[in-house]
């Protein structure tokens, strides 16, 4: 189906079901219950899941397939955001032209940076991308202020021209982003008993785009182009002597992944029409690296899992404060309760980055294939147990 093999079709359908049902799945705990803080089914967070999913899927096309580690991909995300906001300021609040422009501009930007950076490999490539991204970041803060609005960030105002729309709504406020009239922030609440599920237009727009992006990445992975990219990672000497020029392939992968990043940036601005330079900083590039590795670089679903895991931790872990902890350990005697709270405290709340860093180090050290490899190992172990069980079962009657 869809020109995919059976295994990939199953994966795609599974991901589609999960994303479409996310408002249910991510809200398993009834409102008001003690566990409700672990619910992630609110629009803002769900949007971030899928948007960063797109970012990581794109990054994986470059890093996962070719092995070129870019530390500057946040620059493309930032450029995408700026382009989209400018489109909202100048043309209209419809997100389609904004997103198209984000993808085009970030693609062009990636073409220039990629063309230069890819003249080097290995660590030199990483440092070149790092240097370019930091340069863009510094420029966005200083000289490019007329375009980026410097530290304040680029925002919509009431006197933006908006040629194909109104500068202001009838009641004098700034119009909101929409898809042919469907407002991105509109949402519909469904209450079932103690549960409340929120269905947001913005989330579903992002989710559909993410599914398309995911589908495209599967096609790329299985195509001759994807095969060439894996060949580049495996052995460039053999590639040269097989009559292939690795450079244009790598550049194409770089540009495609830059366009994915631009798409993510454009979507981010479509959900919340502002753009700031901090999105371009190298630590933001580091974040997408973390996501991809954590999930499993070079696998199809890994980056999406990684993006989800990190964004979930960022939002849910960071909300756990000492009060919550005391609540958890309240069944214990006071002394032990305080001790447990003191032990857990540095790893949650504001300290969630510490947990992230530790998990990341453990993954790189022991599980280079990320969560996906972990899942496969567990699956294998289970299957082996099962086989043994069935063997035992089959030998039993003989006794």
């Amino acid at each position: 189906m869809f020109g995919l093999e059976k295994k990939d079709t199953t994966l795609l359908i599974l991901v589609a079901i999960l994303t479409m049902a996310a408002p249910f799945i991510l809200n398993p705990f009834p409102e008001g219950s003690g566990l409700a803080q672990f619910n992630a089914g609110y629009p803002d967070l769900m949007q971030r899941f899928v948007i960063f999913g797109i970012f990581a899927i794109g990054f994986n096309i470059l890093f996962g397939l070719t092995g070129y580690l870019s530390f500057g991909h946040a620059a493309f995300l930032g450029v995408g955001s700026y382009s989209a906001v400018w489109m909202f300021k100048l043309l209209s609040m419809n997100i389609i032209p904004a997103i198209i422009l984000s993808v085009i501009i970030s693609g062009l930007f990636a073409l220039v940076i990629g063309y230069v950076s890819l003249r080097r490999t290995g660590i030199y490539f990483s440092i070149l991308t790092l240097a370019f991204a930091q340069m863009s970041f510094a420029l966005a803060y200083s000289v490019l202020t007329p375009i980026t609005n410097g530290e304040t960030g680029l925002q919509l105002t009431l006197d933006d021209p908006r040629i194909l729309g109104a500068s202001a709504t009838a009641d004098g406020s700034i119009p909101v982003t929409n898809l042919f009239g469907l407002e991105m922030r509109s949402a519909f609440d469904l209450a079932v008993g103690p549960w409340t599920f929120t269905f947001s237009a913005g989330y579903y727009v992002c989710a559909v785009i993410m599914l398309l992006a995911f589908y495209l990445s599967i096609r790329i992975f299985r195509s001759p182009f994807g095969l060439m990219l894996r060949a580049i990672k495996s052995n460039q000497t053999r590639m040269n002597y097989t009559g292939l020029n690795p450079k244009p392939y790598t550049l194409a992968a770089f540009v495609i992944s830059g366009m994915y990043a631009g798409l993510a940036g454009g979507l981010m601005a479509s959900m919340d029409p502002l753009a700031g330079a901090e999105r371009m900083q190298w630590t933001a590039s580091g974040e997408v690296v973390l996501m991809t590795i954590l999930g499993g670089a070079g696998t199809l679903i890994g980056p999406v899992l990684g993006a989800g895991a990190i964004k979930y931790m960022e939002n849910i872990f960071s909300k756990i404060n000492d009060n919550v902890l005391h609540g958890w350990f309240s069944f214990m005697p006071d002394g032990i309760e305080n001790f447990m709270v003191a032990i857990v405290h540095p790893f949650v709340g504001k300290g969630w980055h510490l947990t992230l860093g530790i998990i990341f180090m453990l993954v790189v050290t022991f599980l280079p294939g990320g969560l996906v490899e972990g899942g496969q190992r567990v699956g294998k172990a289970l299957r082996r147990n099962k086989d043994e069980d069935s063997k035992n079962a089959s030998t039993e009657p003989a006794e």
Binding site: E5, R219, P224, M228, R230, S234
Partner: protein, 251 residues
């Protein structure tokens, strides 16, 4: 005029004259061996043929075109495939994927963006790859991860990857170096079979005399960067100059 003509080639590395006045002509559909003691310049010469090095003087013509200044992938596209001393394959990929890459290179040239249709939908190329694997008795291993194969199998796979492109000239760089006797004999048989079945020119650089005399139609002996003799194998065997070059090395 042969398919490959090397004229007056010289190459110097700093103070060392690695090659000087190399003249060599490989005739179409023959197997031409280049032998010589260690340090005779065999590898340097080979690297000059495939674009890895550019000679200081002289010319290298292949099929009527100069190869000088072209990059390795351009030279491959002209019809020269190379087998390395230690097999260079795509170790992270399966055997079948290894085979598909040279087929795409042959059909689509050095670069073409095929990002949508899947590799397995290229039925014609898939069956060509399978046919080639069958020819080298590796069809049963087509789903294997190529890193996990024996060295002999890797060599076989590399050879198959070169042959599937139907090259006009196959360059072999000590294809049996470091191999056990049995593997060496297998390789010789494989090459003999290739020679018989296909219209192909082979140039082989080799240390092992057994391999050379089993395969070569013509032999060039290289010593200290310059050709000593070029003749048919039966004349090379007893040639005094050759004995001198090799014995000289032994003592």
């Amino acid at each position: 005029m042969g398919i490959l003509d090397v004229k007056d080639v010289g190459k110097r590395f700093g103070g060392l004259q690695a090659l000087s006045d190399v003249n060599l002509s490989v005739k179409e559909n023959t197997c031409h061996a280049i032998i010589g003691p260690n340090g005779a310049g065999k590898s340097t010469l080979l690297n000059c043929l495939v674009g890895k090095l550019i000679p200081d003087t002289g010319s290298v013509m292949f099929d009527g075109n100069s190869v000088l200044g072209r990059s390795p992938h351009e030279i491959n596209q002209m019809g020269i495939s190379r087998v390395f001393q230690t097999p260079e394959i795509f170790a992270d990929l399966t055997v079948m994927e290894n085979m598909m890459i040279p087929l795409f290179a042959k059909r689509d040239g050095a670069y073409r963006l095929h990002g949508i249709e899947s590799v397995s939908s290229e039925r014609e190329l898939v069956s060509m790859a399978e046919q080639m694997l069958e020819d080298v008795n590796m069809l049963d291993k087509r789903h294997m991860h190529s890193a996990s194969m024996s060295r002999g199998d890797k060599r076989r796979l590399e050879m198959a990857m070169c042959l599937v492109q139907n090259p006009k000239l196959l360059l072999l760089d000590e294809p049996t170096a470091g191999m056990a006797r049995a593997d060496t004999n297998n390789t010789i048989d494989l090459l003999k079979e290739i020679k018989e079945k296909r219209d192909i020119t082979i140039a082989i650089i080799e240390h092992d005399m057994h391999v050379v005399f089993s395969l070569a139609d013509r032999i060039t002996v290289l010593a200290q960067g310059t050709p000593l003799v070029e003749d048919a194998p039966e004349n090379i065997k007893g040639h005094p100059k050759v004995q001198e070059a090799y014995l000289g090395e032994a003592h």
